[in-house]
């Protein structure tokens, strides 16, 4: 036999398989002779192709490292690597097949019945996990390929490219609507592609849809969820290994569901044998893939329904041994593969059983969106009704032209241990009946207890028979029994698609490259990258580097990039009024050219943020926020301005300005040659601000002292960042200036006992506890948090933020427990080794009565307790003399 042109090969369990263009992985494997595609979840029963429509769990395999891929929906690609799942050593010879002989040991709900002791479960878990289940979770980073998210909009989204969907698309597009059509098949046409009903209009309709400028078609994409606001979750699988698997968020004005109906199996003993297939699956194999799936067939169908199928089979030379009525079937015969059918009157030998099952409207999306499902006995189906506004349905999903092949609930007693209702987790009709006996007689509890409808098929194969068994065994009608709730995602979605691309947005300060050249070791602060410290010499430890930076600031001069500070510019007549309202302190009386520290509280008196407030002119202020709180403070200020009628213009200058802090005993001598501004203590005192040029760059200088030394915080246009940074370092060279990072800054400020809001304080901290009783000005008539702070001011706090020095040479960790008399009494918020004290120093929450000079507490260090002494004053320069020279 010569191979057709365009043949390609892929790998299955290490062997090469030839496929034809248009093949799916499943059809190519079937053509190559593979009959067993999976081993069942619990009993390891062999399972073969059943639905070929992506609705059953029988063809799940690992494709290119991704487990549980529906091979019947996956177009074959040259070089694919496909492997089987859950069978040892192979699909054809699986040792675990013997598990089904012990089914009497595994009654329904056996986890709940046997694993009553946690130790027992821990002992059994590894074995259970090995024996039961689906594919294996891939190892970290083993999955190749990319994922991404896409966003689309449509006036109308139509789900399903069958005749009804195509017709609706053309009609709506003719009315001028912009239509997006989503179809999970490689080609449009739905069931007309493989059923005999083909008429000439299909080809014409398909061309019309594909050529219409108002219609966009998403081929081979499946919709797994219809969410609030007509948001559709759609997966576009990879077309080649370099492509990304794409999750498309499609927002539609209206949604038309045209998902059609699918076939679900009938219930009889051994209904899961390999070779028993649904009629639509057989038609797909014949018409789409040119495969005759057997030699001798038995068709199970009521006579009008079965005749078309019989004709189809004869057309490809399959001998039809018999057509039998569904209610006459006693059982299927065979061990692995089907060898015959036993009816009440006869036995027929065959190698193929074609089942004309129930046609089930594929109404899951409609059900998710809020439609009701109503039982129709004549059609043998739950029909969707009561659609939400802007969602509608066309075609077979509405129940049109459906006819039940067999009455439901079943007239005969359905109980049998080998009549499988749920193929995903091997639940038989006997299991369901037993569960109902045990009291799980509501369809929702029955589902949860037996896990029927909870497997990969999400109930598509099993929901209808399960409801049938439940209705019969509880003597209720189908309508009374009802359906279980439909939830997305269905079909399943890979976690990679949900997670999307690995994008990590990062923000760099204007001086990023300069830091890099100086050996910066980076620290992630939210989106920002900041130098943690600079590794000036290779091999130097962090401790050495930080101490060198520390000494530069304390003894000479240091420079730190503080561009990440939030920077807000406020102009207008009423800015003073606004600041008095949102800050706990008073700011309206700040004189131009002066800076004040400010604390923001919420109405409960909790500290939200802190920063500096500078008055540049009568009606012009400039405030800074902490790095992480800019967005919050910006929104907070805007919120308080809404409806105030105040004359305030707020501009966020954070990204537009770079900022540095030049600090140390030699800071003045470094800065002076670069600026005309008089930097003398008389002309430019502590907590003053001036606008001036620095190295030719227009800048705002603020004399503040977070690190406890004479210093200037300089704000200037971001584009001059590198230039000014270099100019300052050059000017400082004769003083051996050092750039310093976050670690050194944290140590320097800790010696000054300066609090970092959000590090030393938390979501329950008020200024009185934090040792900032001076901050709220309760004599202001009104400000945010005043009412709460008035009360807090009057009652002694239970805990306080206190400084401490360790008595011995140990370094506790940030967050270490504070113990008093063996009881947990607080925690350390910041702790560092202080070169000044030659001991670890820090801030900690302690009981208020211990927050006094000389009190002692225990700090947990490693596994033991170490003594620490509480200090009330700053560790370094408590009077602040260094800042005022």
């Amino acid at each position: 036999v010569s191979e057709p042109s365009g043949a390609l090969t892929f790998e299955f369990n290490g062997k090469l398989v030839t496929a034809r263009p248009g093949d799916t992985v499943a059809s190519a494997l079937y053509r190559s002779g593979q009959r067993i595609f999976t081993r069942s979840f619990k009993y390891h029963r062999p399972r073969g192709l059943l639905c070929l429509a992506g609705k059953c769990p029988n063809c799940l395999m690992n494709v290119d490292g991704t487990p549980n891929v529906r091979t019947c929906m996956t177009p074959v690609r040259a070089g694919m690597r496909v492997t089987h799942q859950n069978a040892y050593p192979s699909l054809d010879h699986d040792c675990l097949e013997m598990v089904q002989r012990f089914d009497w040991l595994m009654p329904v709900g056996w986890y709940y019945k046997t694993m009553t002791n946690p130790r027992l479960w821990h002992a059994a878990e590894p074995l259970v996990r090995k024996v039961a289940g689906l594919g294996d979770v891939p190892a970290m980073d083993s999955v190749s390929g990319n994922y991404e998210h896409g966003y689309r909009h449509a006036e109308v989204a139509i789900i399903g490219g069958g005749p009804a969907g195509l017709k609706t698309a053309v009609e709506l597009a003719a009315q001028g609507e912009q239509v997006t059509l989503i179809d999970d098949q490689p080609e449009l046409g739905g069931h007309l592609r493989f059923s005999k009903k083909t008429d000439d209009s299909l080809a014409e309709l398909t061309v019309q849809v594909q050529k219409h400028s108002k219609i966009q078609v998403l081929h081979g994409c499946y919709c797994f969820g219809l969410y609030e606001g007509n948001l559709l979750g759609i997966v576009q699988p990879r077309r080649d290994p370099l492509d990304a698997e794409r999750l498309i968020h499609l927002r539609a004005g209206r949604v038309v569901v045209a998902t059609g109906a699918y076939e679900s199996p009938l219930l009889f003993p051994n209904n899961d044998l390999v070779g028993i297939m649904l009629s639509t699956a057989v038609q797909r194999l014949i018409r789409l893939h040119g495969i005759a799936p057997g030699k001798v067939a038995v068709v199970i169908a009521p006579s009008p329904m079965g005749e078309a199928v019989v004709a189809d089979l004869r057309e490809v030379g399959i001998h039809v041994a018999a057509m039998v009525a569904p209610d006459s079937v006693v059982r299927a015969l065979g061990n692995k593969s089907v060898t015959g059918i036993e009816t009440r009157d006869a036995r027929y030998n065959c190698d193929l059983v074609v089942v004309c099952g129930h046609r089930v409207p594929d109404a899951g999306l409609l059900h998710q969106a809020g439609a009701r499902l109503q039982w129709d006995a004549r059609k043998g189906a739950f029909i969707p009704t009561d659609f939400p506004a802007s969602i509608s349905a066309v075609g077979e999903v509405t129940g049109e032209s459906l006819l039940a092949p067999l009455p439901i609930p079943p007239e005969r007693d359905p109980r049998n241990k080998r009549a499988f209702v749920c193929l995903c987790s091997d639940v038989s009709s006997q299991d369901l009946a037993d569960a109902i006996e045990e009291g799980f007689d509501h369809i929702e509890t029955l589902k949860r207890y037996t896990t029927t409808t909870m497997g990969p098929c999400q109930g598509r194969m099993c929901q209808l028979p399960a409801i049938g068994v439940c209705a019969r065994q509880t003597s209720r009608s189908m309508a009374q029994t009802g359906v279980t709730t439909a939830r997305p995602p269905n079909p399943g979605v890979t976690l990679g698609a949900l997670a999307g691309a690995r994008h990590h947005p990062t923000r760099r300060t204007p001086m990023h490259d300069e830091h890099d050249e100086s050996g910066a070791v980076w620290l992630d602060m939210g989106e920002w990258k900041r130098p943690r410290y600079y590794q000036v010499q290779k091999g130097a430890s962090e401790k050495q580097c930080v101490e060198q930076e520390y000494r530069a600031v304390r003894e000479r001069v240091g420079l730190i990039d503080v561009s990440t500070l939030g920077k807000l510019d406020l102009k207008g007549k009423d800015v003073g009024k606004l600041l008095d309202k949102i800050y706990a302190g008073r700011l309206s009386d700040l004189r131009p050219g002066r800076v004040r520290y400010g604390v923001l509280c919420d109405e409960a008196g909790i500290m939200l943020d802190d920063g500096t407030v500078s008055r540049l002119a009568d009606h012009h202020f400039f405030i800074t926020t902490t790095t992480g709180n800019l967005d919050f403070v910006n929104q907070w200020v805007k919120w308080w301005l809404v409806g105030s009628g105040w004359d305030v213009y707020l501009t966020n200058l954070t990204a537009g300005l770079a900022a540095v802090n030049l600090a140390g005993p030699n800071a003045r001598e470094v800065l002076a040659p670069l600026t005309d501004c008089d930097l003398s203590h008389q002309a430019f005192p502590y907590m003053a601000c001036r606008s001036a040029r620095v190295a030719g760059v227009e800048a705002l200088l603020m004399r503040i002292g977070f690190v406890g030394e004479t210093g200037w915080e300089i704000h200037f246009p971001a584009e001059s960042g590198p230039d000014l940074w270099k100019a300052l370092l050059a000017a400082g060279r004769k003083f051996d200036i050092r750039p310093f990072g976050i670690e050194a800054q944290r140590l320097l400020r800790l010696e000054k006992r300066h609090v970092i809001v959000g590090v030393d304080s938390d979501a329950l901290t008020n200024p009185y506890e934090a040792g900032m009783a001076w901050a709220p000005k309760l004599d202001k008539e009104d400000f945010i948090g005043r009412a709460a702070l008035m009360r807090l001011a009057g009652e002694p706090p239970q805990q306080k933020l206190a400084g401490f020095v360790m008595n011995e040479e140990v370094l506790p960790e940030d967050g270490a427990a504070i113990m008093v008399n063996g009881q947990l009494a607080g925690r350390v918020t910041s702790v560092r080794f202080s070169p000044l004290k030659q001991k670890a120093i820090g801030l900690a929450w302690v009981p208020a009565e211990l927050a006094r000079e000389g009190a002692e507490v225990d700090v947990r260090v490693g596994g033991r307790l170490a003594r620490a002494r509480i200090t009330e004053q700053a560790f370094y320069d408590p009077a602040g003399a260094r800042l005022r020279t």
């Binding site: 609030e228 606001g229 948001l231 409960a604 929104q635 919120w639 709460a788 009360r791």
Partner: protein, 86 residues
């Protein structure tokens, strides 16, 4: 949640573009009794039905506005800048 919120400036946008700002409440006068302040600070009506709320269009025009939303159906009935109603 995947409903749409109408920003008075930008029109209907996905709820993920917005920050929810809570129920609209009347702030007590500066000298109001403490009970009023406690109520304002800590109590929420949590209406099962239509309530007036604050929203901030974070990924859009970055404006605060108010909306009437049905908390049961997530239908945003109307939205407006507060000044417009007074």
């Amino acid at each position: 949640v995947s409903f749409l919120v109408r920003c008075p400036q930008c029109g209907h946008r996905s709820v993920y573009e917005f920050r929810f700002g809570g129920e609209v409440k009347q702030r007590p006068a500066p000298g109001a009794p403490e009970a009023d302040w406690v109520n304002y600070t800590y109590t929420k009506v949590n209406e099962a039905g239509v309530q007036k709320e604050w929203w901030f269009h974070r990924s859009g025009c970055r404006q605060w506005f108010q909306a009437r939303r049905n908390t049961v159906t997530n239908e945003v009935q109307e939205s407006f800048f507060p000044e417009e109603t007074t």
